[in-house]
Amino acid sequence: MINRRDFMKLTAIGGGAVFISGLTSLSQAATGYGKGSAYDDFYFVQLSDTHWGYQGPANPEASSTLKKAVATVNGLESQPDFIVFTGDLTHTTDDPKERRKRMNEFRDIVSELKVKNVRFIPGEHDASLDNGAIYKEIFGNTYYSFDHKEVHFVMLDNVSDPGANIGEAQLAWLAADLRKQKKDAKIVVFTHRPLFDLAPKWDWATRDGAKAIDLLMPYTNVTVFYGHIHQENHHNTGHIAHHSAKSLIFPLPAPGSQEKRTPLPWDAAAPNKGLGFREVEAEIKTAEYKITEFPVSKG
């Protein structure tokens, strides 16, 4: 369990700017510290877009970047309650045997994490060419939910369909899952692709993402964390905040900033530039999420 003092220590060992997201309900603030006291606060770590198996000029050190990140997370003074990987665990391949091999290698590397509560969702590189078949063999369901302390976490799959549809079956599941929640429940959604139209001309969207947002909209405390775009981005659809994460393979240009979404050139002098992971501290009482960005390595 982490408290504010521990959080400040964590930021002191190499974190970047802190981004605060979420809503403070006046009615909640008026109740003061109750069941949802500071002692229920916790934090998790989000890693994304590790692309295990990638070989190319955008990251000549691809075979070591993920391992370094695992070591950095293990070196955190206070360990998170859980760790989440938001997709593109592996780099795509047409060969199912190679896909399975990459996923097994990825699983073996992240099994070195000290924290054993590790959650996954797929990215299109993992799941789109076989509708998630091999991913499911190794990591289980592509969408699910779980509760941690007073927060309801929803893991959405917007990649097993190569057309980036969540699909009616999953949307029906989401609707049923949300119906069990109070309208002021603290809800955090993890997805790979943005649920909103961030940059459709770069395929940075979910074709039926608006339907998921419509289902989430009646809930007053919803925050979405996603990957896919290999950089930080912060956006609101109404009161719902969406935060994308950096990748652990190569950074991509700002949405729509150039003709092609080609990776930013690798910098030999700063090989981990633009890469990293984040910690998210959940403050239960105020439904705030403090995001701190970390580099791949401390050094």
């Binding site: 789109s128 990649v159 980036a164 003709e259």
Partner: protein
């Protein structure tokens, strides 16, 4: 050449001219605000569209005929609100009359493999 032969030659030349005009219009469209469509055939194959640059005129009626060779690619022009799935083994047709001048990017929006991110092109619309 006597008068009769000269008349016949003139008629033949006129017919040829009219025939050529009709052929050109069938192949390349008939310009602005015509009901006729210019046909453009596009091949989709991992990881490219051929051609990947389409030069159109504002107001021109265009029929795009897609043939996909290897995958259910997607053709999406977000800024024109125009998209279709392109299943192999059949011709997929889209009709288009650009209303704005400019350059409009298109992409494959069905993830098709390691070069998917490079599969795209642009439509250039001029006056």
């Amino acid at each position: 050449m006597n008068a009769r032969h000269r008349k016949a030659w003139q008629i033949s030349a006129m017919c040829l001219t009219v025939a050529a005009f009709i052929t050109v219009n069938a192949a390349y469209g008939s310009g602005k605000n015509s009901n006729k469509e210019r046909l453009i055939k596009i091949v989709a194959q991992r990881f490219s569209f051929t051609p990947n640059e389409l030069k159109l005129q504002k107001g021109e009626n265009v029929r795009l005929e897609f043939t996909s060779l290897d995958f259910v690619h997607g053709f999406n022009v977000p800024d024109m609100n125009l998209r279709a799935d392109l299943p192999p083994g059949k011709i997929t047709t889209l009709h288009l009359t650009p209303e704005k001048v400019g350059t409009f990017d298109f992409i494959c929006d069905n993830f098709c493999g390691a070069g998917h991110e490079d599969m795209g092109g642009r439509i250039i619309v001029s006056n």
